[in-house]
């Protein structure tokens, strides 16, 4: 076990020093290059038959889970809140997008255009989910910790219960008839979009605001952070992406029922977040990938699969609650302005000259302690 850990750390250190040794233009080109490379893989490999249908399906689920994990990580990892009913938002996105493709669009005579309207359908599902995210945001102003966990879990139950009671969308028997619009290429595109948008959010004012709430909410409000606005922003955006994932999910499974979005599903997402690492985009990608693939490999075990998940969660919480990449990030995901090298350069080229030409002598305090 120690040897495996040592090996993994060794690889990580090698990579870090390798990456640091690259010239700046190469660093900047790395991420876009990766994106383009994987795009070709996602689009052409299935068409050329290199990835068979089964593995395509698995990769699609990996992608959907990455989006789910990233969205929950925003709330639980970056903002340190207790959202444990995330599947409820996924359900909203799944049902709304399905209603659109199965009823609304055909009624409007747009059946032929549905494949082209897929992104719009997903976005509407996401927006609906985001709206329900507001419902959780407001209680979060006054309750934290355990109580918020109960609120989010209750919301999950309420959504499930409401869906079970609406006969028009199939009630407990479920809803089907969706066209198979999700394919590897679309999932890949949405994964990239999600990573990009969330990355930008995390390194912006709102991301820092969320982090400050996690670290110390009262201190945050006492340094001018508008905690209410930040909470609303984070909850709504997280629910939005969960809704997108729900829409993608519905259009690959082609059958959704309320039971698919129960606490068991929410727990799955929790496992992926805490496995990969809280407060880390790379961690979410890793966690989602490892967990999805693991469950696939364990498929022959049938019902015992669902015993492994919770058990894994418990072990994680006891032995490594921060996860694989807790609060750390892959260097190539950082925006250029967030790299320490940039800060040091700005210090030399901008700050020091500015101060030297300004009023008091900065060296008065610079050298002390």
């Amino acid at each position: 076990m120690e040897k495996v850990k040592g090996l993994l750390f060794g690889i990580r250190d090698w990579w870090n020093s390798f990456y640091s040794s690259w010239p700046e233009p190469v660093k900047r080109a790395f991420l876009p290059g990766l994106i383009v490379l994987f795009f070709f893989v996602a689009v052409f490999f299935p068409a050329w038959g290199i990835i068979n249908l089964y593995w395509q399906q698995v990769l699609i689920y990996v992608g959907i889970n990455i989006i789910l994990t990233l969205s929950l990580n925003l709330v639980n990892g970056y903002m340190g809140e207790f959202s444990v009913g995330h599947a409820g938002f996924m359900a909203v996105g799944a049902y709304v997008s399905s209603i659109l493709t199965v009823w609304v669009l055909p009624k409007l005579g747009l059946s032929d255009y549905i494949p082209y309207l897929f992104p719009l359908v997903l976005i509407i599902g996401g927006l609906a989910a985001g709206l329900t995210g507001l419902i959780i945001a407001f209680p979060s102003f006054r309750t934290r910790g355990d109580y918020l966990a109960i609120v989010t879990l209750s919301w999950n139950m309420i959504v499930k219960s409401v869906l079970e009671n609406i006969e028009a969308i199939g009630g407990p028997r479920g809803f089907m008839g969706m066209p198979k619009l999700t394919n590897l290429a679309w999932v890949y595109v949405w994964v990239v979009i999600t990573i990009w948008l969330i990355r930008n959010l995390v390194y912006s004012n709102y991301g820092r605001g969320a982090l400050s709430i996690r670290e110390d909410e009262i201190a945050a409000s006492l340094v001018s952070v508008d905690t209410r606005t930040v909470k609303i922003v984070i909850f709504v955006i997280a629910s939005f992406f969960a809704g997108i994932a729900g829409g993608l999910f519905a259009h690959v499974l082609l059958f959704i029922n309320p039971r698919a979005f129960s606490i068991l599903k929410s727990t799955d997402i929790l496992v992926m977040v805490y496995l990969g690492g809280i407060g880390s985009i790379g961690g979410s990608i890793l966690g989602a990938t490892i967990y999805t693939v693991l469950l696939e490999i364990l498929r022959p075990l049938q019902v015992w699969r669902w015993v492994i998940g919770p058990l894994l969660l418990v072990f994680l919480m006891i032995f490594r609650p921060r996860g694989i990449m807790g609060m750390r990030e892959w260097k190539f995901l950082l925006p250029a302005e967030e790299r320490p090298e940039t800060w040091h350069k700005e210090r030399e080229t901008i700050i020091l000259p500015r101060l030297a030409s300004a009023r008091s002598n900065p060296e008065k305090l610079g050298g002390k302690v």
Binding site: N76, G80, F82, V84, F138, P139, R142, T143, G145, D146, Y147, A149, I150, V151, S154, W155, M157, I158, S161, V162, E164, N165, I218, I263, L264, T267, L270, Y274, V303, W304, W306, V307, G309, P310, L311, L313, V314, M317, I318, P321
Partner: protein
């Protein structure tokens, strides 16, 4: 009028079970400020223990009178369930006592799900009936239809709740439990064995839930996922009454029993029960999170 009173009895029957389970939630929360999400599933396990022990006892050649079988089944269920709860506390919750809250909450969820799916995987999903430990005899009192089992449930629950109340208020152990729930830091310094008191609390909560389990199993069917349904309703009872407050849990339990029985009377369909219960919980949490009998806690800055 008679049907109304009949329904009240039904509500008391159900509410008694909810109250018994709610006590487990509330005691654990009171002592280590953890919502033991696994408690509902511990209740579920207790019903299965009662099922197996009860079946075994009934199939013995020499038949005990019903009461004896009942007591033996209940005691066996209490014992094994308490053992399970203490084990869970020792291995899943104790390591996390110093950890951030989120870890403990999520662990509790994980333990609960583990119990559900483990039971599902080993025993199977079909609902089962407990064997007739006490043969059900129906009769009417003053025109109200009831049964011996119904009265036993209501009575036994009340006795157990009274015993618990006495333990908490009159014994050293109870005093220690209450002290720890007020101040976790100073009490160990006074020589109170924290770990042992916490284990006792878990054991107590679990065995009371097991009483509820045995009683519940005598009337309703059991299945691996019942922990979610019943457990959640009991949990809502605890929160309604004021989590951490023992009398609140009892009150909450009976209230939720009334909600469950009388909701289908007011709303068109019984499938709305879940919706009503959880909406009640949500509203309560937003406007009065400390429940009916609880007190708000202020934080020092």
């Amino acid at each position: 009028m008679q049907t109304f009173l009949q329904q009240v009895l039904n509500a008391l029957q159900l509410g008694s079970v909810y109250a018994l389970i709610a006590l487990g939630y509330t005691m654990v929360y009171g002592i280590i400020t953890l919502i033991n999400f696994a408690h509902g599933d511990i209740f579920m396990v207790s019903t299965y223990v009662a099922f197996f022990v009860g079946s075994a006892l009934i199939s013995y050649a020499f038949k005990f009178p019903g009461i004896i079988t009942f007591l033996l089944t209940m005691l066996a269920s209490m014992f094994f369930t308490a053992l399970l709860a203490v084990t869970i506390e020792r291995f899943a919750y104790r390591p996390l006592r110093k950890a951030p809250r989120v870890s403990a909450v999520i662990t509790a969820l994980g333990v609960g799900l583990f119990l559900e799916n483990f039971t599902l995987a080993t025993i199977g999903p079909h609902p089962r009936f407990l064997p007739p430990i006490i043969p059900i005899k129906r009769f009417t009192i003053g025109g109200i239809a009831t049964s011996n089992v119904q009265l036993i449930i209501i009575l036994v629950s009340a006795i157990v709740m009274f015993l618990l109340d006495t333990i908490v208020r009159r014994t050293m152990v109870g005093m220690a439990m209450r002290a720890i729930s007020w101040d976790k830091f100073t009490v160990p310094l006074m020589g109170v064995p924290m770990d042992r008191i916490i284990s006792i609390t878990f054991a107590l909560g679990a065995s009371i839930a097991a009483v509820g389990g045995t009683l519940y199993g005598m009337v309703y069917t059991i299945d691996p996922y019942m922990g979610i349904r019943i457990g959640w309703w009991a949990f809502i009872s605890a929160v309604v009454g004021g989590i951490g407050n023992i009398r609140g849990a009892m009150l909450g339990g009976y209230l939720l029993g009334l909600v469950e029985i009388f909701t289908p009377v007011i709303l068109p369909s019984s499938t709305y029960r879940d919706f009503v219960a959880f909406s009640l919980l949500l509203l309560l949490l937003v406007f009065r999170p400390y429940g009916l009998l609880g007190r708000p806690i202020t934080q020092k800055v």
